[in-house]
């Protein structure tokens, strides 16, 4: 895959205010296993960096305020809204987008296959976010995370993860809106993969 990093046509300092530091930064973004050395306006979000600078347009902008989940990517293996992350803060993070979910030979992941099989999307605009969110969610579930709908006894039992019932899947994916209303099919597709997905392939961000 050739990454098309688009150089800004008119690179200039965007009006620093007096007495303050530079408003641009050099950032090495690691996306889908590849490093992109970027000179970024500090205002650029991860989502805009992906879409406008790296031409990785799979991650979608639905609301730009963390209210829809369409921009969900994996940052150090954990799902996050890329619209609320400033790219400048992500030096050294490992980012996975929908473009990085399939195998390097192009073979779709089981979740992607399941989305096709269950017709788990219509317009497709929330789909990359749903997929990345589901990958992160399955890792969380495998790590034993309870959810808002996990009953109190199960949540307190740290030895046994909650079973991923449809209700659990729906709650855990509620950060991803789908206006076409494909929720039932998404739940079925994710449930079909819940048992087979590898629990934790990506490293967590090191805690200092």
């Amino acid at each position: 895959m050739v990454a098309r990093a688009r150089a800004p046509q008119h690179p200039q300092q965007a009006g620093p205010r007096a007495g303050e530091g530079p408003v641009r930064s050099r950032v090495a973004l690691r996306v889908n296993g590849r490093t992109y050395a970027l000179d970024l306006d500090n205002r650029v979000t991860l989502l805009d960096a992906l879409r406008e600078l790296l031409d990785l347009t799979g991650s979608k902008k639905g609301c730009d305020h963390g209210q829809c989940g369409a921009c969900t990517v994996l940052v150090d293996g954990r799902r996050a809204n890329s619209c609320l992350l400033l790219a400048v803060t992500l030096d050294a993070s490992e980012i996975t987008t929908v473009e990085g979910l399939a195998a390097s030979d192009g073979a779709l992941s089981p979740l992607q296959e399941a989305f096709l099989e269950y017709d788990a999307f219509q317009c497709g605009y929330c789909t990359p976010g749903q997929l990345c969110s589901a990958v992160g969610m399955l890792r969380e579930a495998a790590a034993g995370h309870p959810s808002c709908v996990t009953d109190a006894a199960t949540a307190a039992d740290t030895a046994h993860p909650a079973a991923l019932t449809p209700e659990e899947i729906a709650e855990r994916l509620s950060g991803n809106l789908c206006r076409c209303g494909a929720y039932n099919a998404i739940t079925r597709a994710v449930a079909a993969c819940a048992a087979t997905e590898a629990p934790d392939q990506a490293p967590r961000r090191p805690r200092t």
Binding site: R6, A14, D41, D64, Q122, Y125, R179, A182
Partner: protein, 704 residues
Amino acid sequence: MPTPPDGPSALGSPARRSEGHAKVTGAARYAAEHTPPDCAYAWPVPATIVRGRVTSVDIAAATAAPGVIGVLTPYDAPRLGTADDPTLHLLQDLSVPHRGWYVALAVADTPEGARAAAARVRVTYETDPHDVTLSADHPGVYTPAEANGGHPAHRRQGDPDAAFAAAPVRIDRAYAVPPLHNHPMEPHSATAAWDAERHHLTVHDSSQGAGAVRAALAALLNLAEEDITVVSEHVGGGFGSKGTPRPHVVLAAMASRHYGRPVKLALPRAHLPATVGHRAPTLHRIRLGARTDGTLTSLTHEVTTHTSRVREFVEQAAVPARIMYAVPDMRTTHRVVALDVPTPSWMRAPGEAPGMYALESAMDELADALGVDPIELRIRNEPRTEPDSGHPFSSRHLVECLREGAERFGWARCREPRRDGPYLIGSGVAAATYPVLVMPSTARAHARSDGRYLVEVNATDIGTGARTVLAQVAADALRVPLDRVTVAIGHTGLPAAPLAGGSSGTASWGWAVHDACTALTARLERHHGALPPGGLTASADTTQSAKQKSPYSRHAFGAHFAEVRVDTITGEVRVRRMLGVFAAGRILNPLTARSQFTGGMVMGIGMALTEHSTMDPQFGDFTESDLAAYHVPAHADVPAIEAHWIDEHDKHLNPMGSKGIGEIGIVGTAAAVANAFHHATGCRLRELPLTPDRVLAALGSAGP
């Protein structure tokens, strides 16, 4: 070469979406995902007054910022040609007809620069008093010439008032549906590139119909249509709000031509409620008169709604009452008042969704008053011909939908409301209808010398599965396996076709595709020997056949069933299960059709329970302008939903025998949920949505 006619039919098979792979890998590109070299970014500036005039626009601070290319204002923006739709007459004069109306456009090298420049634009205004509050007795209310869709605003048969007065059982109720917002997941976006050398404008637009966008841009920019290419290859939902060209595409095209650079404009989510249309609020008064056996003798449905001062749009909410029930004396009326509000427009099942909420709630109230089962009440009033026109129905299987739904839902077993701890559980039913619409289309079918087929039509797939279903139509008409057909859509270079709207896309485009492929098949049968290197082509134009007036009343019907759980502690209402049965002609692809029906029901759950928008009387905007405040249903709001259909054969429709299915799923949902709420609690809420504040008030403050 064509397979024998007895080969397996592609139509009716659950073919997967042909663009599915591109969508699950992120490869499918939407309108804002094309970045031509030297692309600039635009950010519009909305008016911050409700009504008045711009008196100055100070762009000095905005243009002083590095990387800002310019700011277009009403004073200096390029003059546009005549627009049929005055909401597209952007930056042409100083008047501000509503808050959120665009008064400037900032253009910069980067998205960040454009946003910051827009924030730096200083606009001064002269303000006039405003009025944004709808009421049924508003002094400005008038009866329009027509409601949306060309329906007469007013229809009357017999003497409904006398019949109502004489009826032994009477229901006289008011219902209210708030403003609702389409909020497709993809905000309205366009990337426009003006090539001065070629004198050609290329636009990627998030639209339900590229052809209409091209026509509008040609008129506004004083260009010939052949000077413009509009591409709408993948569209992230629309639900009506992308049915006509919207301001973003005009602004992007204007800016690109003015500045000589490609311009990308993706509307911020919070701008959508004011600029891309909304479902207008509707106030309903319904009067039903009936004999004690449940036979309806009088029906009056009066709708009062708002429109803007820019353009009249009248939500046709009283129209479905004209075809639903056998009532000799009937009046259906629309009244509208022009307020200083954003211009309303189409939203999924315009008319039917709010109208059937009111009508089917009233029917439930009548059943209650009569002590008759609500399904039985509807069956007793089943008409033999369409009540309004008197025309025979081409097919009408509402009763079958109700009966099959009752059976599948276990209606008989849930006629008693239940209490489970603090929860009240009840069930409700409602009928649904949606008209069969079809528009003229053209299409072209091409047999390639390698044995593959290319079908071309400027259709749009906004998530309906159009690309896939059209390939199925083509495969059957060509009598070849589905995998030999490629369908090209979403481009004005393709044969002209109407927009994706009114649940008419598959019928309109499919008809043309069918005719083109049938013609090609005939050509191929006449052709002997190997195909020429360029292959063979046939075209079709359905203008004659699609415009032919049908002697039949043509509608899809459906029945919705819902079971709700009301939490008496919190007032939270959740749907526990939902089921719809539809009679919508031949179902061409059960996989994508189920998604359409189910998706409509999900939006109906939102309409019933969570989607609440308020016109702020002081500021003239919708308070719930973003997706944190305007609650479209989340995963957790949606239970397992069943969609079924009955095998309906209707030969008075189109060559496929299909009715539209994109909208009927929403139609009866809100009433079914609201009726279930009444069944559970004994309380009737007549204003949507059923949010905890209203529910707690209805239940009384005593708590559990």
